[in-house]
Amino acid sequence: MKKLIDNVEDVVNDALEGFVWAFPEYLHRVPGTHVLVRKRPKADGKVGIVSGGGSGHEPAHGGYVGYGMLDAAVSGEIFTSPTPDQILEGMRAAHHGQGVLLVIKNYTGDVLNFEIAQDLASDEGIETARVIVNDDVAVEDSLYTTGRRGIAGTVFVHKIAGAIAESGASLPAVQNGAQMVIDNVRSMGFALAPCTVPQAGKPTFTLAETEMEMGIGIHGEPGTHRQDVKPAHELAEFLLEQIAQDLKLEGGSHVACLINGMGATPLIELAILAKNVGTWLTAKQIAHDVVWMGEYMTSLEMAGASLTLLRLNEELRKWLHAPCDTPALRQGVGYDY
């Protein structure tokens, strides 16, 4: 295993320290915790937003802490949900008198730990609400499974819920907005090469030189099936067909797109994927409004990508274009000079 680390045990702690050192104008670490909060807290009287999950998804989640997005991000060990006491610390820090919304990705561990934290926060008198992101169409959604996973579409939830909260909306209004994103966002991804969790020291799965894994999540777990590597346009088409079918997209729809690298995919390859997404959307007469391309929700050094489409209505479009200023996403911020 070759990794740019000091000690396997210290990976998460050291990375959090590095984030705070590199973005001092944005981030503050709650002492003795794995919680990153806004350096300049949100004004009192606004709803706080807390997200988080295992580490290894950088820039998620600490990279989205800042104006117009998250108030606090809670990091667990690599690919492991944070514990309830840590999430509670995040909720305390994010609470500015109007309650706290938890953004949870649909994994058993995350849901359990965030639910327990929510109970603890309620006991302290903090008003709480939660949404559960489940955008991954690779996974069958059925009553007999844990349901779909939450993957890169989560970043759209951060962005839009954050904008609504910043406007001074109530906790139910912020929750409804976040849920509206979840109802309209779908994603799917693939891996060309697996990743290695530092503590495990070996890859989470192995692929032959000509193989790829389709329908992967963001924790190095195997996907839905294995196949021979295909050209970018075939991959784009396959993923978009799955997503569009699930969203029931038709000609005339408006969408926002996220072309997300899994950690070790060069931008030139993401751009080729993006070009093919554009070609496909044009052919289907689906209009795109916002495109994000880059690393937004990674899986350590996995090679591969995911595509996310968010079906837009006027309201979602408005919040999507609202300003935000975080280490990983900055837009529409005005300056006085």
Partner: protein
């Protein structure tokens, strides 16, 4: 069960899980994300640190159950930390605030603990989770009370077998459920660590 036995039981679990850490990670790598052994080892290690100084050992079973639960809840992470931890906290009031309890209370404690795991995890037997070992083990324990501690070596073997039997199941809960039919053919790591716990129950309370 005495407080000494309680501590021995969890010390045993910590030691046995550490010895099987790599195997648990390998099982998890096949159908999950490969950290089940690492996570449990980390949390149980923190728990063992609680008892480094024997003078500090609690003389109260209810407090011990809560203390172990809170430690696991805040150090293991993932689903297993939430399940083991919150179940131990919730089951703590069943134990007396005293240094020993009778067998009936012990079984009730385990039963409460397992019911909480089922509720929190919304899992039942056949879902390919730790419940596939925990639930039949509690039921078997309740159905064989007259045999006393002599029955524990038998239960230990049964638990190992119930874990092995998860191989043929398709996962319906937890991360392995995303694999659908591809989860068949692998032992569930949570069921394996649960069987290790029952081995410790036998080692400390059996015979």
């Amino acid at each position: 069960m005495t407080t000494e036995q309680f501590v021995q039981l969890w010390q045993c679990f910590g030691t046995v899980v550490r010895a099987h850490q790599e195997h648990l990670d390998d099982l998890d790598r096949a159908i999950g994300d490969g950290d089940h052994g690492t996570n449990l080892t980390r949390g149980l290690g923190k728990m063992q640190d609680l008892w480094k100084d024997p003078i500090d050992t609690e003389r109260n079973l209810a407090d011990l159950s809560k203390k172990v639960g809170m430690t696991l809840l805040s150090t293991v992470g993932g689903a297993s930390g939430a399940l083991w931890g919150s179940a131990l906290v919730k089951a703590a009031p069943v134990l007396p605030s005293a240094s020993a309890c009778d067998d009936e209370t012990l079984v009730l404690w385990i039963e409460t603990f397992v019911s909480n795991i089922e509720e929190r995890g919304k899992a039942q037997v056949g879902d390919k989770t730790m419940v596939d070992v925990m639930r039949p083990a509690v039921n078997w324990l309740k159905a064989s009370t007259q045999e006393g501690s002599a029955r524990l070596p038998v239960l230990r073997e049964l638990a190992r077998q119930w874990s092995e039997d998860t191989k043929d199941l398709q996962a319906r809960r937890g991360r392995a459920s995303y694999l659908g039919a591809r989860s068949i053919g692998h032992v569930d790591p949570g069921s394996f660590s649960s069987a290790l716990w029952w081995a410790c129950v036998d080692r400390v309370l059996g015979g």
